[in-house]
Every structure is written in structure tokens, then in C-alpha cells.
Symmetry: C2
């Protein structure tokens, strides 16, 4: 499985993904699930993927091909699309086509494929927007009421987000929130694993302001994880019932 | 859905279930999912249920019928079975039969039913034991390595259990742990709802030592829930990254 989470805040967007891919428990690999597309000053887009690797890799490759096409148009290239809504539509259509195509090949094996994506971005003169794209190509959008989106193994890490994430959350707190949400997921589910990829897009920066790969045993992440364990353990002891 | 959790500790067993049942989002009811069977001094058994209400109600009714049968034997009555393992076998067989029977009736509607149970108990001269019974009637048992079992919406409330529950955990801490695990689940998933039922069986007490129904707005639970929110919020603020 996978865990990816994206926060859409007043100050910007924060995205975090794991890298574990598995085909059965005895076939585990590391694959990047975060893809950035940017033309600084004009637009910045980050896509995170969950689900069948064969579907998501092909979909990302097709999106890249449509960007590189010398005859690319705003109808097919996410780097030329006039709005983020249009970007979400192109990604949705691509994902849905690839999934249907692979699904039809898998039919004989009675296996079905699925994949979903989170896409976050901003283009010049537009707002920051973040979408969750379903396997069928339809999508929902993050809003001030629900300023975060998750794909993959989302349940373990949801309680902390429910409690602390608001549109007014600072980017520093947002980094902490997604890392702690991931930390809970890593501890409780083997199919989600290090290293992690993080991206931050400041509002109106029109580029991916910050990217970071967090390797296993990263001292900062380990320290934060241990500090959070202490908070939970000490807080747990202190509560009276 | 449902959330039920059981802890098997050195000092005893702690069980907690919610009571929300829904057939679609527009048909929500409250049903007890915790059932106690005891003959004080001889044996105490608690069963918690998750899944199709028609399956679990029928299975519990059949278990009761087999107990009340004047010709009851240790082969069929969980109150006469010579060991807790035998109790788990009787429950597993009953659950599996009921489920298959109802499933065959549902086949035409292309709907399938499922249900699982946690059974915890001790009989005189035996050890405390706790089992998770699958829809097919097979089961797994809680052990010192994994001293808790969950059914239903188990993911939201697993991180706190992973962190704090050990066989040596006191019964007081165990009560807190299951309530906080439930609190996270209640906050993140609408299909799990108050009131809650809690049961505690002290080791070698051979009766259900303590039962408690926790109603919505229970002042003690509310206070604990708020205190935990404060711990998380304050701890979150204090952590540096």
C-alpha cells in the first residue's frame, strides 16, 4: 500500500508521501510516488500516487509525454492547461483511461487494478488548489472545511490531522502534522515505509518552494518521532479516569 | 460499522464496544454489541460482535438457546464447554453456520454478509483467553506479543494501542487505553457511535468484575477526551522540527 497526504492551507500547500511498493509481502520495493512539474514563476504542480504501480507509472509517463509533445495544447498538457481545474481533468482522464486499459488486460486473471492521485498546484493569476483523483477519473477538492486529502492507508494517520489541521495552520506546524500522521501510519502498517518525500509550495511562489527526502534513520525525523512517543506516553500517564 | 477492542493483560481483561448499527447512512440505530455469560465462581465469558446485525443477533440467540437446552452438553453449550478453546470452537461453528445460511438467502440480491466476534473468558482451573473469531469460524488468539484484538473500524484506534499496551499494563491504564482508542475512532468515523459498553474481568475472579455503559455526554468520558485533546495539542505545539 501507500500513504500520501496533502494539506491546503492559507499559507501554502504541504505534501508528504511514502515510497513502499509491494506485490505480495515477499516482493517489496522502493518507488517514488511524488512527481513535480514546474515552470518557476508560471506554475507548480505536485502529483502523488497510490495504487497499482503499473497504472500510476503509465499515467505519469503519459502525462509527461503530453507535456513534451511539440504540438502540446492546453487541452492535453498539464503545463499549458489554463486552470488547475483543467489540470485535474486531464489527470483524471489519463488515469481513468490507463486504468481501464490495464484492467481489461487483467480481466482474464480476475484481478482488478485501482489507483488514485492527489494533485496540488497553482498557476500564475490562479488560486492554489488541491484535488483527489479517483480511479474512475472523477475528483474532489480540498476546501477550508476539509483542508487535507489522503490516499492509501489513510485511517491510522487521520486522527492527528482531524485534531490539529485548520486552514490557518502555519507551514511549520503543517510539516509537523503530516510527519506525525505518517509516523503513526509507519508504526501501525508494514505496507507503508521509509524513505519519505516531502514538498512544500508557498502561496504565490509559483514553484515547488522546498523538497526533501527523509531517509530511514533520518536524525531529525527520528528525534521528532521519539518526542511524539514521549508526549503520548507522558500524557497518557497524566490523564486520570 | 462498529469498533470493539479487547485487551488480555496479566491482571485481567478489558473489553470495550460501541453500539452504532447502520443499514445505509439514513438508517442508524443503537444495538448492544457486548454479551456477557457468567456463572460466578465457575466461568465468565464476554462476546463482542461486529458485522451484519442479522448474523450476529441470530448467532448470539442460538448460543443462548444451546445454553438453555435442558439436554445441553459441553459440545454445544459455551457454559458447559470444558475449555475456553472449546468455547471459541462452538462460537466459531455457530457464527459460520448462521453466516452461510443467511448468505445463501442473500445470494439472489448479490449482497454478501459478514460478521466477526471477540470472545474473552476464563473458567475455573483454566487460564484467561481471548479469541478473534472470523466470519468463516476459524479464529486467532491474543498472546503476550499481541495482547489486544480489534474488530470493525480498527485502524483509527490502533496507533495508541500499539504504543501503550503491554501484558504488564495495569487495568486502570487499560481502561484509559481502550477509551482513548475509541475516542480517536469516534472522532474520525461516523459509523462508530456512543453509547459505549465496557467490561472488565479481573484475573481469577471468574465473574464479570465490572460493567459500565458510557452514555453520550458522560462527564467522565468527556473530561478524559478533552484532556487527551489538550495533551495532543500542547504536545504538538511543543515538538520542534
Amino acid at each position: 500500500m501507500t500513504y500520501c497526504v496533502g494539506l491546503l492551507l492559507d499559507a501554502g500547500m504541504v505534501l508528504l508521501s511514502d515510497t513502499r511498493t509491494n506485490a505480495g509481502l515477499d516482493n517489496i520495493s522502493t518507488y517514488k510516488k511524488m512527481f513535480t512539474f514546474e515552470q518557476p514563476g508560471e506554475r507548480a504542480i505536485v502529483i502523488m500516487t497510490a495504487g497499482s504501480l503499473s497504472v500510476t507509472q503509465t499515467a505519469i509517463a503519459q502525462l509527461q509525454e503530453m507535456i513534451d509533445d511539440p504540438d502540446a495544447s492546453g487541452e492535453r498538457s498539464i503545463m499549458l492547461a489554463p486552470t488547475m481545474l483543467k489540470v485535474a481533468e486531464i489527470i483524471g482522464r489519463t488515469l481513468s483511461h490507463v486504468r481501464q486499459d490495464i484492467d481489461s488486460k487483467m480481466e482474464m486473471a480476475k484481478v482488478s487494478t485501482s489507483a488514485s492521485m492527489i494533485v496540488a498546484g497553482q498557476r500564475v493569476d490562479g488560486e492554489m488548489r488541491m484535488f483527489l483523483i479517483y480511479p474512475e477519473g472523477n475528483f474532489i477538492e480540498a476546501t477550508p472545511d476539509t483542508p487535507f486529502l489522503q490516499i492509501g492507508e489513510h485511517k491510522y494517520g487521520k486522527p492527528i490531522l482531524d485534531r490539529v489541521v485548520r486552514p490557518s495552520t502555519t507551514l511549520e506546524d503543517a510539516r509537523k502534522a503530516v510527519l506525525l500522521s505518517m509516523d503513526s501510519t509507519l508504526r501501525s502498517n508494514l505496507s507503508v515505509g521509509m524513505p519519505l518525500d516531502m514538498a512544500v509550495i508557498h502561496k504565490n511562489d509559483l514553484r515547488v518552494t522546498e523538497t526533501r527526502r527523509i531517509e530511514p534513520h533520518d536524525p531529525e525525523f527520528t528525534k521528532m518521532s521519539e518526542a511524539w512517543s514521549d508526549v503520548l506516553r507522558d500524557g497518557f500517564s497524566a490523564i486520570k479516569i
